[in-house]
Symmetry: C2
Subunit: 245 residues, 2 copies
Amino acid sequence: MTYCVAVRVDRGLVLLSDTRTSAGVDNIGRFRKTFTYENPGDRAIALMCSGNLSITQEVRTSLSRAIKESQADPEIETLLNCATMHRAAQIVGDAMASVQQRYRSTIEMQGSAADATLLLAGQRKGGKPRLYMIYSAGNFIEATADNPFFQIGEHKYGKPILDRIITPETTLERAAKAACVSMDSTIRSNLSVGMPLDLTVIEKDAYSFRMRRRIEADDDEFLSISESWSAALRRGFEDLPTILD
Amino acid sequence: MTYCVAVRVDRGLVLLSDTRTSAGVDNIGRFRKTFTYENPGDRAIALMCSGNLSITQEVRTSLSRAIKESQADPEIETLLNCATMHRAAQIVGDAMASVQQRYRSTIEMQGSAADATLLLAGQRKGGKPRLYMIYSAGNFIEATADNPFFQIGEHKYGKPILDRIITPETTLERAAKAACVSMDSTIRSNLSVGMPLDLTVIEKDAYSFRMRRRIEADDDEFLSISESWSAALRRGFEDLPTILD
């Protein structure tokens, strides 16, 4: 399993992913699920991955290869030179569709799932911060003011706190805290989501990354959020009125 | 969907169920999911149902018919005269297996799911309070001190608070509150779980029901728990340390 959450607020974008992969509980791995593409002063873009790992790695490889090849041939369109974030989502979607076309039927023939879902977030100069969810078929949807966050992977345990906290007016600091609480709840409840984490923050109109931070299992700040939240829940529960007289 | 939670603590049993059924979001119904069987002074037993409604109704009908027929023929074994709670679980499991045997293949042939899961909780004189989860095949598992609660239906949203609060030492009052918070979180996040609720409480060694309460959508005590919990979460969030400097 996987848990990735991306939030788009007025002041920018916050992304948080775990690193655990599992093909059954007896086959656990650790893979980074957040990948960044930056041309400082022009654009900062982050991609998060869930689903079949061979599929998402292949998608990333094709995106990176295009960037490399574009150094010799600037005609090649890539995440780093495309005109808009919408076009970037199309490029990623096309890469997904192409990889699915190549492998899906053989993967399914041997009984595995080829599905994969990606979150693409970023801003290029002249555009707004954008957040997209890209499906296996290469189609995608965009986050809006009414729906300012997307989750992929194990989304249920961590959704209630996001529903309560996140609005377009939420600051980046609060959005990052809410993402951490959401991840903490998910890690507690689903063994297939695990530390370390990758926290990525893109501030509006900076066209660069404000934060790309690996949060290890012994990270003091994350532990402090986790413990404060536990204590707040316990206190809050003690103060509830009774229903059984 | 459905959400039912049953808790077995040292002091007794607490059960809470919603009443919403859905065959698609355009086909919503309301059905009671908690059913009680009582012989005051001898036993109090409660059954909660999830899954295919035609299956669970048929199971209940056969259990009730046996109780009625046993008035004329006391040789017929029923939930109200069987020797132990374990035997009661077998009786319910046998009824489930028999109904599945009759309908499962035809239900599946037309593309629907025949799965159903039941929670059976109660105490008979001379025995301990027991809680069982009964599967479609008629087999079952029992709650233990290590795993003092069971959930059926949409279990994820409401699990974290139970994990944090429920132990065998938890009082019935706290267990009822935790069940309400768990249900409140689930109702907020899943449209297919809805009010009104049914709260059932069996106190240890009482052999009768301490509470069988229908909680309507405008129930003051439930609303008060829901609002206090929201306020506690908001306050707790405000007090969290920062992760983004």
